[in-house]
C-alpha cells in the first residue's frame, strides 16, 4: 500500500502567476497615481469620476468580460487581485468598479443573449456607461425574494414601477440591472431587466452614510419606465436564480474590498509601530500592539487565500457559493477589526483625520452589511455544512 506514495514532493501552489503579479503591480501603480485624493473626496462627498475614467482606460472595467465583447476575460481571481489594490487606497472607487465588474458585467456575460451583449458591452467595457445593480428595496434587504417592484407586460415592452434602495453608483450609472416582479410567486415571480437611464427612471433619495461617502448610494425610482421585452434577461421568472448566482461574484468583490481595507490598516499599524523610538532612537514598539499586528497580518494572509480559492473555483466554472461566503464572512470581519485596531493603536491621530485610520474604520463597516450581511453568509455556510 505504501509503495504508491513513494513520490516526489507534492506541491500546492499559493502564488500568483508572474502575469497576475505584473497586473497587480500595474493596478497598485494606478491606485497610487490616481486615488491619492481619497480623503478629500470623502470629506467633500465627491464621486471620483476622473479616477474611474482612468481605470477604464487601463482596462480595469472589463476584467470579467470575454474578449469576444471587448473584455480582457481575466476573470474573478484577477478582479480580486485588482480590487484589493484599489480598495487599499479608495474603497469608494473600489466599490464602483466592483459593482460594475463583479455584478453588472459578470451577470451580462453569463445570462444575457449575444444581441444584448453586443448592444451593451461596448459602452460598459470602456466605462462610457457605468452599471448599477438594483435588487434591494425598502422592505427587502437580506430577504431579497420579498421584493415588490413590478414589471407589467404591455405589448413589446414592460412597464416598471417601484423604488429600489441602496443602489451603489445610483446617481452616476447609465445602465441598471433591475429585478422586478412579473408574477406573485415569491421566488419564481421575479425577473431581471436591463434598464437604461431615461424616461420613467430617476434618482431618488441620496443616502448620507457613515462611510464610502464618495460612492453615491441612492434610491432609483421606476415610475412607469418602459423597458423593451428585448431587454429582459433570460426567461420570465429566472430573476431570483440570476441574482443569487451573481451574488457569489459580488461577494468576492466585497471580500477583496475588505482585504484591501484590512491591508491598509495593517500597513498603518506597521508604520506607526516602526516609528516608535525612545530618546536614543532605538525602536520600542509596544509589545501588545506588535502581537495584535501579528494576529491581523496572519489572518489577512489566510483570508486572502480563502478569497482567491473561491475566485479560482468561479473562474473554473465551479459553484463557489460556500467558499465565497466564507471569504466574505472572514475578510469583512477582519477589515473591521483591523480598522478599529488601527484607530486604537494610532490613538488620537487615528481618530482625528490626520491619518486614514478613521476613514478606513468608517468604510470597512459596510463590508459586513452589503452583498449579504454577515449573518446571511453564516446561514449559507451552516446550511451547507448541516445538509447531509
Amino acid at each position: 500500500m505504501t509503495a504508491k506514495f513513494e513520490a516526489a514532493p507534492q506541491y500546492v501552489d499559493f502564488e500568483l502567476s508572474p502575469e497576475l503579479s505584473k497586473f497587480r503591480d500595474m493596478v497598485r501603480d494606478y491606485a497610487k497615481t490616481n486615488l491619492g485624493k481619497a480623503a478629500e473626496w470623502d470629506a467633500e462627498v465627491q464621486f471620483p469620476a476622473a479616477a474611474v475614467a482612468a481605470a477604464a482606460k487601463l482596462g480595469l472595467l472589463r476584467t470579467t468580460v470575454s474578449s469576444e465583447y471587448g473584455g480582457s476575460q481575466m476573470g474573478n481571481l484577477a478582479s480580486c487581485v485588482m480590487l484589493e489594490e484599489i480598495n487599499a487606497v479608495c474603497p469608494s472607487t473600489g466599490v464602483t468598479i466592483s459593482v460594475h465588474n463583479s455584478l453588472v458585467n459578470s451577470l451580462l456575460g453569463k445570462w444575457c443573449s449575444d444581441e444584448q451583449k453586443r448592444r451593451y458591452f461596448p459602452k460598459l467595457v470602456t466605462g462610457e456607461w457605468l452599471g448599477a445593480y438594483c435588487l434591494s428595496e425598502a422592505f427587502s434587504g437580506s430577504d431579497a425574494a420579498a421584493l415588490r417592484c413590478e414589471a407589467q407586460l404591455s405589448g413589446d415592452h414592460y412597464v416598471l414601477n417601484g423604488a429600489k434602495l441602496w443602489i451603489t453608483t445610483g446617481s452616476e450609472a447609465k445602465l441598471f440591472v433591475v429585478f422586478a416582479r412579473t408574477s406573485a410567486d415569491r421566488v419564481k415571480g421575479i425577473s431581471a431587466f436591463i434598464v437604461e437611464m431615461g424616461p420613467g427612471v430617476s434618482v431618488g433619495k441620496k443616502e448620507r452614510k457613515l462611510g464610502l461617502r464618495s460612492s453615491p448610494t441612492t434610491e432609483i425610482v421606476l415610475a412607469g419606465a418602459k423597458v423593451p421585452v428585448a431587454n429582459r434577461i433570460g426567461d420570465e421568472g429566472t430573476g431570483f436564480l440570476i441574482a443569487l448566482d451573481t451574488l457569489d461574484g459580488g461577494r468576492l468583490g466585497i471580500a477583496a474590498q475588505a482585504l484591501g481595507i484590512a491591508r491598509a490598516c495593517v500597513d498603518l499599524i506597521k508604520t506607526h509601530l516602526a516609528q516608535q523610538v525612545d530618546a536614543k532612537g532605538r525602536s520600542i514598539p509596544s509589545q501588545p500592539d506588535q502581537w495584535l499586528l501579528a494576529d491581523l497580518a496572519s489572518e489577512l494572509d489566510a483570508y486572502r487565500m480563502l478569497t482567491w480559492r473561491a475566485a479560482t473555483l468561479r473562474d473554473r466554472g465551479i459553484r463557489c457559493t460556500v467558499e465565497a461566503a466564507m471569504a466574505k464572512l472572514c475578510a469583512s470581519r477582519l477589515s473591521n477589526r483591523a480598522a478599529r485596531a488601527a484607530v486604537s493603536i494610532l490613538g488620537q491621530s487615528g481618530a482625528s483625520g490626520t491619518s486614514a485610520a478613521e476613514r478606513h474604520l468608517r468604510d470597512a463597516r459596510i463590508t459586513e452589511i452589503y452583498e449579504g450581511a454577515t449573518d446571511i453568509q453564516r446561514l449559507v455556510i451552516a446550511r451547507s455544512l448541516l445538509t447531509p
Partner: protein, 350 residues
C-alpha cells in the same frame, strides 16, 4: 442599598437633565452632528441648571454632590449626545481641578461664563517657567473654548490656566464628537497662570483625570444603552423572512450580550464614583470602568449597526454616530492603550 441606587437629591438632578435632553438636545442632535456644529444650546441649558459645579465641594462654591450624579447625568446625556456629555465633562473637570487648586477663574467655569477645557498630562505639555509648549492632536471642545486648564510637566510642572487665544487651534475632521468643535491645539510658549504646583497640582490633576475617566465611562454606557434600545426597537419592527428580526435567536442573543457588557461597565463606573465620593482611591477602578465602558459601547453600537443593516450605515438612525463617538472617546484621556499600561504598572508591577 446597592451600587446603582440614587438618593432623592441625585434622582431629582437626573430628572432635570432628562427633561433638558428630551426638550433641547434630542430634536437637533442629528443635524448638529452632520454639519459638525457646536452643541451650544445644550451646553447653555446645562449651565442654566447649574450642573458645572455639581461635583465641586460646597466650600468651593459647588453643589458638593460628588461624582455619582455626574455618572447618572453623563449616562443620560450620552444616550442622546456623546458630544454634549463630553463638553459637560470638560467643564466639570476644569471646575474640579481649579477648586482643588483653590484659585483661578473658578467662578466663571462653574457658571459657564467661560468655556473651559482640560488638557491632561497625557499630552505631555511642557512648562519652562510659566511658558507652555506642546501639541494636542484632538481636543473636543477646544474650538469653542475660552480657556484651557493644563497639566504641565517640565521645570515649571504644575496646573496652569491659559487663555485659548494664546494658542493655535485648527478644527479637525475627527471620527466622532463632531458637535464639540474638536480641534488641534498647539502651544508655542504660551504664557500660563500657575494655579498649583507640587503635591497640590498632582492632587488637582488626579481629581480631574478621575472625573474624566468616570464621566467618559458613563457617557459610553449611555451611548451603548441607547444603541441597544434602538436595535431592540428596529428589530421588533422590521420583518425578514416573515417574522420580526428580534424573533431570530441570534439577534436576541446579540442584544443580551451587548446588555451584559454594558451592565458590567455601568457597575464599574458607579463603583468608581462611589469610591471617589467616599474619599477612597478611585484611580484603578475609574480606569477600568473607562476601558470596559468604551469597549462595551463600541461593541453595542457595532452590533446595533449590524442589526439595522443598511439603515444602520446611514446617518438618520443614530447608531453610526454612537459607534463613532464611542470609538473616539476610547482614544481620549490617554486612550485605552495607555490606561491598560498604567493599570498594569500600578497593579502588577514587581
Amino acid at each position: 442599598m446597592h451600587n446603582l441606587e440614587l438618593t432623592d437629591d441625585q434622582a431629582a438632578i437626573l430628572e432635570t437633565i432628562k427633561k433638558l435632553v428630551q426638550g433641547v438636545v434630542a430634536p437637533n442632535v442629528l443635524a448638529l452632528d452632520e454639519h459638525r456644529q457646536f452643541a451650544q444650546e445644550g451646553l447653555q441649558g446645562l449651565a442654566e441648571l447649574g450642573l458645572f459645579g455639581m461635583s465641586v465641594p460646597e466650600v468651593s462654591f459647588g453643589a458638593g454632590m460628588g461624582l455619582v450624579p455626574l455618572v447618572a447625568g453623563c449616562e443620560e446625556i450620552g444616550g442622546q449626545s456623546g458630544s454634549l456629555a463630553r463638553l459637560l465633562t470638560a467643564q466639570v473637570q476644569c471646575g474640579i481641578a481649579l477648586a482643588r487648586a483653590g484659585s483661578g477663574p473658578l467662578e466663571d467655569v462653574l457658571t459657564g461664563g467661560k468655556r473651559a477645557v482640560y488638557l491632561g498630562p497625557e499630552f505631555g505639555i511642557v512648562a519652562v517657567g510659566s511658558s507652555l509648549s506642546g501639541f494636542c492632536e484632538l481636543v473636543p471642545g477646544a474650538g469653542e473654548a475660552d480657556l484651557f486648564v493644563i497639566a504641565a510637566r517640565g521645570d515649571g510642572a504644575g496646573l496652569y490656566v491659559v487663555d485659548a487665544g494664546k494658542t493655535t487651534r485648527t478644527v479637525c475632521q475627527s471620527l466622532g464628537l463632531a458637535s464639540t468643535a474638536p480641534a488641534r491645539v498647539v502651544l508655542s510658549g504660551a504664557q500660563g497662570a500657575l494655579m498649583a504646583s507640587g503635591v497640590d497640582a498632582m492632587v488637582a490633576i488626579e481629581s480631574a483625570d478621575v472625573a474624566g475617566w468616570i464621566a467618559g465611562a458613563a457617557t459610553c454606557v449611555g451611548m451603548g444603552r441607547a444603541s441597544l434600545q434602538l436595535a431592540r426597537k428596529h428589530s421588533s419592527e422590521r420583518f425578514a423572512f416573515g417574522k420580526p428580526l428580534l424573533a431570530q435567536q441570534a439577534v436576541a442573543r446579540k442584544l443580551v450580550e451587548s446588555q451584559r457588557g454594558l451592565d458590567a461597565a455601568r457597575h464599574l463606573a458607579y463603583h468608581a464614583a462611589r469610591i471617589h465620593d467616599a474619599q477612597g482611591d478611585a484611580v484603578p477602578v475609574a480606569m477600568a470602568a473607562r476601558i470596559a465602558a468604551t469597549e462595551a459601547a463600541v461593541h453595542a453600537a457595532d452590533e446595533a449597526i449590524q442589526i439595522h443593516g443598511g439603515y444602520g450605515y446611514t446617518v438618520e438612525y443614530h447608531v453610526e454616530r454612537h459607534y463613532r463617538d464611542a470609538k473616539t472617546i476610547e482614544v481620549l484621556d490617554g486612550g485605552n492603550e495607555l490606561l491598560k499600561d498604567r493599570l498594569a504598572a500600578q497593579q502588577f508591577a514587581g
